[in-house]
């Protein structure tokens, strides 16, 4: 047991810190550090800057831009990005479809998609959830029917995050209605500019538009865009959702948000009850971060450690708790969420109510906290 980083890891961290704080576009970092939303173009520019330095997809196979880092190095890379306000590479690309294609894709698919995926030349969307298939994903009803070499896709996906920016969508479809639920599912890559694809915005309770419905109406998809085997979609989905949980615990970002909130709070931080709430949250965040490091230390061969569910569950709870503290510190100023920048209410305070509401999603999407409890109970505790 040892707390200190090895000399090698410490040097690695310094290297990351130096790059992120001196070479990455400053204006993007400033926006992130101020808690503001990035535009489409800023997200793309950020990922390209990382990719140019070889830092966008370090966990991919080295052949496709990976770095062969240890899990600890990957953690340090991620932590230093968050500390510097560097936006993480788009999860749909870097953490979801990229690893999936690298693992399950044909050579042709890899060559066609992976470089553009790393560079965010293609913006991927995720087409998994449906109105009647959320936590119970296996009951999905979007169909793909063979027509010659092509597939004809019909159905509806929902909760497609940032689908309005999507160029392509990786989609779970039912290719065989006869077999048992999971076995009839395949993964298709669909060009979102095809005829019959329609993206409709969903307004969320924070007033924002970050998720969408995606409708498929007789969309004709070439047969070579099926990933892996026909009927193998469920296996791929499990692989992908497992990947998704690693690094999903938003520790670094939450830590920075809390640190920033302390600055914003000014004399409100003199209140002993506020200080106690902050101290309690800081302690839990420290415990969570150390747990992430312990999980990293124990995870083997890319398989997600079951304790990933602990990270997701507790990570989202703490993220939500910090947003509640911010709301409480903003007080009546939080009503001014719709006011413009001329408002005498500071920006951080105006953003608190939408953020509080928006983050309620964190415990629902990407495997709800009930699903995480189920995984812990079954997989770890054997219940």
């Amino acid at each position: 047991m040892q707390l200190k980083l090895s000399a090698e890891d410490a040097a690695f961290r310094d290297e990351m810190r130096t790059f992120f704080t001196t070479e990455f576009p400053q204006e993007i970092r400033d926006k992130v550090l101020a808690g503001q939303h990035l535009t489409h173009d800023e997200i793309v520019a950020g990922q390209r800057a990382l990719n140019a330095a070889g830092l966008a997809v370090p966990h991919w196979p080295e052949e496709w831009g990976g770095k062969g880092w240890t899990d600890l190095q990957r953690h340090l890379w991620h932590e230093e990005m968050q500390r510097a306000g560097v936006p993480a590479p788009l999860a749909f690309n870097a953490s979801m479809i990229g690893p999936v294609l690298a693992q399950f894709g044909s050579q042709e698919q890899k060559e066609r998609f992976l470089p553009k995926t790393a560079n965010l030349d293609i913006w991927w969307s995720q087409g998994f959830s449906e109105p009647d298939a959320g936590s119970d994903l296996a009951s999905l009803r979007t169909t793909a029917v063979r027509d010659g070499d092509d597939w004809i896709v019909n159905g509806q996906k929902t909760w497609t995050t940032l689908g309005q920016y999507g160029d392509w969508i990786f989609t779970l479809v039912r290719t065989d209605p006869e077999v048992k639920k999971q076995a009839g599912i395949s993964m298709l890559l669909i060009d979102m500019t095809l005829e019959g694809v329609e993206v409709r915005p969903i307004e969320l309770i924070d007033g924002g538009h970050e998720v969408n419905e995606v409708w498929f109406d007789d969309v004709r998809v070439p047969g070579d865009l099926l990933v892996g085997e026909q009927g193998g979609g469920w296996t791929i989905a499990k692989f992908l959702l497992g990947n998704e949980r690693v690094g999903v615990a938003p520790v670094g970002a939450t830590k920075r948000a809390l640190a920033r909130l302390k600055e914003d709070a000014g004399d409100l931080l003199d209140d002993p009850l506020t200080r106690a709430r902050v101290a309690e949250l800081e302690n839990e965040l420290l415990a969570l971060e150390l747990t992430a490091l312990r999980v990293v230390a124990h995870s083997a061969g890319g398989e997600p450690h079951p304790a990933s569910s602990v990270l997701k569950l507790k990570g989202t709870e703490l993220q939500q708790a910090v947003s509640e503290l911010a709301l409480d510190l903003a007080g009546p100023g939080s009503l001014a969420s719709g006011a413009d920048d001329d408002s005498p209410v500071p920006g951080w305070a105006r953003r608190t109510a939408p953020t509080y509401l928006n983050l309620r999603k964190a415990s629902i999407y990407g495997g709800s906290n009930e699903i995480q409890r189920q995984i812990i109970a079954r997989t770890i505790l054997g219940l």
């Binding site: 307004e203 969320l204 924070d206 629902i364």
Partner: protein
């Protein structure tokens, strides 16, 4: 001691429930009403006036009905239940309450009469940017020249401030203390915006703006302002109670109808138990709401202040618990602006931050724990 409504109160509840339900039982119409300024339906405001609801709290001399706090609370509950966006709480209870408590007979008859008739909307402007639920007039100062008063300063957020025909503004008096003034809405620089629940608030900039003192010019009204704020808090808690009741009902409906994994959600014991805990929070909050409401007519000003802190704390805690669990037990659907449950949670957050956060009330209660032995429910 009696916790039941009498027949008249029940009839009032049914009438308001009917009117509010007709307008907003279909949640899409609430969405339409809040889509643009003024953030509510003027026609519905008129219907509330016709039914006599807008004059309920005021004396008959002032053009009102002279109803008591139980009736007002009941209206707030019913409006909360469907998230009705009409500014009953801001305009009638709060601003109207200030006029009723501090105005001259002429001012009362004029302003409250027109308010009751649905002819005008009032707003109360007592919060300065960064201010936190205090009854002093920080941020706006009054000046007098002969009989002519003017106000200077900024008030933000002012619920429904941009739509208001007249605004009741608190201001520091030249000789100390806090006065209340009637300011013409049109005379103020106003910036309208939407809060996260779709309701509207505004920034009001006063710069030597003409103002008419409410009541006796120069009189310190701090205690009056504090009590009217406390009453507004208690009525806000009634409104929050209506929201939470609707959320618990919507959640149980959803659990018994929505299917996952081939069965309805109420097959999952963990979800049912959480719904049970929501119900516990709801019932405890309900009890304090009823108690605080009755305290308005039966207690002293100090009792009302105490009741406002107690119900404020309890309802804030319950609102977080129920509002968050209602979303979580629904899942994604409740994250959308198209569905009432999540918007209800937004409304609970706005009510809390507008009227007083949990920690504010807790701190005030904490300061008094040494003043008594046990807290007695019955005097």
């Amino acid at each position: 001691m009696d916790f039941t409504y009498d027949d008249e109160q029940k009839a009032l509840r049914e009438a308001v429930r009917g009117l509010a339900g007709k307008a907003y039982a279909d949640f899409e119409s609430r969405r339409t009403a809040t889509a643009e300024a003024p953030g509510f339906d003027e026609a519905q405001w008129a219907r509330l006036a016709e039914m006599g609801v807008l004059g309920l709290p005021f004396s008959e001399d002032d053009g009102g009905v002279g109803a008591g706090p139980v009736e007002i609370g009941l209206v707030c509950q019913e409006l909360g239940r469907v998230l009705a966006p009409e500014p009953f709480l801001a305009s009638v209870v709060h601003a109207g309450g200030l006029v009723a408590a501090a105005g001259t007979p002429e001012q009362r008859a004029d302003l409250l009469g027109r308010l009751a008739a649905g002819e005008i909307v009032l707003a109360a402007a007592d919060t300065s940017p960064g201010g936190r639920w205090s009854a002093d007039a920080e941020g706006v100062t009054a000046a007098v020249d002969g009989d002519d008063w003017t106000l200077t300063g900024v008030r933000d957020p002012v619920p429904n401030g941009a739509r208001a025909d007249h605004v009741i503004v608190s201001a520091s008096l030249p000789d100390g203390g806090t006065g209340l003034f009637v300011v013409e809405g049109a005379a103020v620089t106003r910036t309208d915006y939407a809060a996260v629940d779709g309701s509207r608030a505004a920034r009001l900039e006063l710069d030597g703006t003409p103002a008419v003192p409410l009541g006796t010019p120069g009189q310190d009204l701090t205690p009056t302002i504090a009590t009217v704020s406390d009453i507004t808090r208690i009525m806000g808690a009634n409104q929050a109670l209506g929201v939470m009741q609707a959320q618990v009902a919507a959640t149980t409906d959803y659990l018994t109808s929505r299917k996952q994994f081939g069965v309805t959600l109420n097959t999952f014991q963990a979800l049912n138990f959480r719904a049970a805990d929501m119900y516990v929070s709801l019932e405890l909050a309900h009890s304090l709401v009823d108690w605080a409401t009755m305290t308005i007519s039966e207690g002293s000003q100090d009792d009302i202040a105490d009741a406002a802190d107690r119900v404020g704390l309890q309802v804030a805690r319950a609102g977080r618990h129920i509002g968050q669990e209602a979303i979580q037990l629904h899942g994604g659907i409740a994250m959308t602006a198209e569905y009432s449950v999540g918007v209800g949670t937004a409304h609970l957050a706005v009510l809390e931050q507008w009227l007083g956060g949990a920690q504010h009330h807790l701190t005030r209660l904490s300061a008094r724990v040494g003043d008594h032995g046990a807290v007695e429910a019955l005097g």
